[in-house]
């Protein structure tokens, strides 16, 4: 994908944020306790999401972004995981403090999630109609069979599934990946939640379908005002669909800000390295630049900056003390001792 950071799309979507966020995450921590030790999957993550805006969360595999998503809806793997602090405020209510029963009423209704692989997301032994019906009836048992069917059809239409009546009788194995992902989207949006978490929604789709799907999400957002958290490892997707982006590394957010700012002016060496490693169309370079080294094991993390061992700009201080988040410019912040001087700046 070409460098899209200078397209009008990236610049123009400066967030339709209304100022009062639908979701506020404060210092969220999720640790996993296994026989290999304590894994600090999510280690103090804070961000907010406004109504109608799309926040991208980008990072390599192992950065903790999927675990972050699951933490928001409290579906981290039991019994290994435990929430060790923080708050997740949805419309003012802390989701972490609710009873499981309450949480279940909220899941799928006020906050929804789409998973990565559509081939695996739908249960192969039940029809689409059955699964869609379930999504609807679980939050409103008083609905009659006919009303449920109407709402199912409406949900399918909202994601532009053709011939919805036939779709209801189909089974997942008869449908394409893109179609399945749409249906998953329909189930997620059935009650027009305030927040939709999309965990790598296009990664498992054909390239030709990916753009289509992202546009569908945009469309849904325009119509319902849902706030979207888009988790991905692909900066192209960020550029195309997000208003703001948070870069995650080793369980923490290392940089956060509006998409244009991040693309033009990355203030964390990791962000810079990620941007640099994207394949650029038309570039003469023979080899892709990759970041040297491996992300650290989340079992034993250094007290200092976790990127230090791979960072070309690290100083001794970096390995000893974890840098605080430095505000660069309004909503743009980075956690690096050298974020102000930014010796890696592009221009």
């Amino acid at each position: 994908m070409s460098d899209l950071s200078s397209t009008p799309l990236a610049q123009g979507r400066a967030g339709t944020g209304s100022g009062s966020p639908v979701l506020e995450v404060k210092d969220l921590r999720t640790y996993l306790y296994t026989r290999w030790g304590v894994t600090k999957a999510v280690d103090g993550v804070s961000f907010h999401l406004d109504r109608g805006e799309t926040l991208g969360i980008v990072g390599e595999s192992g950065s903790g972004k999927s675990m972050l998503a699951l933490s928001l809806v409290r579906l981290t793997p039991e019994p290994a995981s435990r929430n060790e602090g923080g708050q997740v405020l949805l419309g003012g209510r802390d989701l972490l403090a609710l009873s499981e029963k309450h949480m279940r009423a909220i899941r799928g209704k006020e906050i929804s999630m789409i998973l990565q692989d559509p081939q695996q997301s739908l249960n192969p032994v039940f029809s689409v109609g059955n699964q869609l019906r379930e999504a609807i009836q679980v939050h409103d048992r008083s609905l009659s069979g006919e009303a449920t069917r109407d709402r199912s059809l409406a949900a399918l239409k909202s994601v532009r599934v053709p011939a919805p009546e036939r779709r209801l009788r189909s089974f997942p194995h008869q449908l394409s990946g893109g179609m399945k992902q749409r249906i998953v989207g329909a189930m997620a949006m059935a009650y027009q939640p305030q927040v939709l978490i999309a965990d790598e929604p296009t990664t498992a789709l054909d390239v030709t379908i990916q753009a289509q799907y992202l546009r569908l999400l945009e469309d849904l957002q325009e119509r319902t005002g849902v706030g979207i958290i888009l988790i991905t490892h692909d900066f192209g997707v960020i550029a195309e669909s997000c208003d703001r982006v948070a870069v995650m590394y080793a369980g923490r957010i290392v940089e956060q800000g509006p998409v244009a700012a991040i693309f033009d002016n990355p203030r964390h060496p990791y962000t810079r390295a990620l941007l640099e490693s994207r394949p650029k169309a038309g570039s003469r370079k023979a080899r892709l630049q990759s970041i040297e080294g491996q992300p650290p094991s989340l079992n034993d993390l250094s007290p200092g900056c976790r990127f230090a061992e791979r960072c070309s700009y690290a100083m001794s201080r970096c390995e000893e003390e974890y840098p605080p988040t430095v505000v660069i410019d309004g909503p743009h912040g980075a956690a690096c001792w050298r974020s102000e001087e930014a010796p890696w700046a592009i221009n």
């Binding site: 809806v73 579906l75 279940r104 009423a105 909220i106 899941r107 799928g108 209704k109 929804s112 999630m113 998973l115 692989d117 695996q120 997301s121 739908l122 249960n123 192969p124 032994v125 039940f126 029809s127 379930e134 999504a135 679980v138 939050h139 036939r166 189909s170 089974f171 194995h173 008869q174 449908l175 394409s176 179609m179 998953v184 189930m187 997620a188």
Partner: protein, 311 residues
């Protein structure tokens, strides 16, 4: 799906045919039944007459064809050991006892094995799980005949809770059915546990939770139904193994069923009964496998509807 059923039915018939041939010729290997059954002082003429009456004077292939022809009509010939009865009636006499025991054992197996397997998976790592796994290991390792004897010794003889042999009321069913089901329980337990663990870790179960579905429903509907498919494929093998176990159990408990009959008939060289029994058993197994195949095809929509894509 009709085609699928038809193919399997044909294969089953071929199997049955092969088994009948095998059993027939093997049975005839056992030597002359007259050695065992005819009185020592029988005259040669009477022997020849008896031989002719039983059809033993013809060549083997001729005997087989005659046998097959009659079998199709349901006539399996006279029992050599009980000349006043036909093989068919001797078997039918004893069969109900085996069926009763079999039904009780199957119920026991299903009622204990499946829930334990599911519970074991849902409460993975807990005490229930560890006990279940231990039991499963034991059940697949214990020699049934020995277990039967030990149980008889303890429960029947020392504690006088149940009778030691024969059928004298509902108590008689207790020990034999327990011994027969132990293997099945162990096997089903492991199968369901393994299948449930796999489905419970699946993405679609995660999605169901994300929709807000209650945990109970997630397990019962989303995890269990796909998980039931895999054990189905092994169910046939389990039943066959239990059938063999049942024969030994009948012998140990002197249970007057088809298994004990097989033992007696083989020792008495009662060909017709042995052949008929073998055919019945093989037919039962073939039919059971066919039923399992059909159930599998029906339960798994990918097989029922075929792999053709709609979109």
């Amino acid at each position: 799906m009709a085609r699928y059923v038809a193919i399997n039915a044909v294969r089953g018939l071929l199997t049955l045919f092969a088994v009948s041939v095998l059993v027939f010729f093997l049975a005839r290997l056992t030597g002359d039944p007259l050695d065992v059954l005819a009185p020592v002082d029988m005259s040669r003429e009477d022997e020849e007459a008896l031989r002719a009456q039983w059809g033993l004077d013809r060549t083997l292939p001729e005997q087989y064809i005659a046998f097959l022809g009659n079998a199709m009509k349901g006539d399996f010939g006279p029992s050599f050991k009980y000349p006043t009865e036909t093989a068919g009636s001797v078997i039918l006499d004893r069969l109900p006892n085996s069926i009763k025991l079999g039904v009780v054992s199957t119920i026991l197996t299903l009622v204990i094995g499946v829930p334990l397997g599911i519970l074991s998976a849902v409460r993975r790592g807990s005490l229930v799980d560890r006990v279940a796994k231990g039991f499963a290991l034991f059940g697949q390792s214990v020699p049934e005949f020995w277990l039967a004897i030990v149980l008889i010794w303890f429960v029947a003889v020392r504690w006088h809770v149940v009778p030691t042999s024969g059928i004298t009321g509902w108590r008689s069913y207790v020990l034999p059915s327990i011994v027969i089901s132990i293997f099945g329980i162990a096997a089903l337990l492991r199968l369901f546990r393994s299948a449930m663990l796999e489905t419970m870790g699946s993405e679609y179960v995660k999605l169901a939770r994300l929709k807000g579905v209650s945990e109970l429903k997630v397990i019962w509907k989303h995890a269990l139904k796909p998980a039931s498919i895999a054990p189905l494929t092994f169910f046939g093998g389990i039943v066959v193994r239990m059938l063999t176990g049942a024969t030994v159990v009948e012998i140990v408990f002197s249970w007057p069923g088809a298994g004990l009959l097989a033992y007696e008939a083989a020792n008495a060289r009662d060909f017709p009964v042995v052949q008929a029994l073998a055919l019945f058993t093989a037919a039962a197994i073939v039919i059971m496998n066919l039923l399992i195949d059909i159930t599998y095809a029906y339960v798994d929509p990918r097989v029922r509807l075929g792999q053709k894509a709609v979109v």
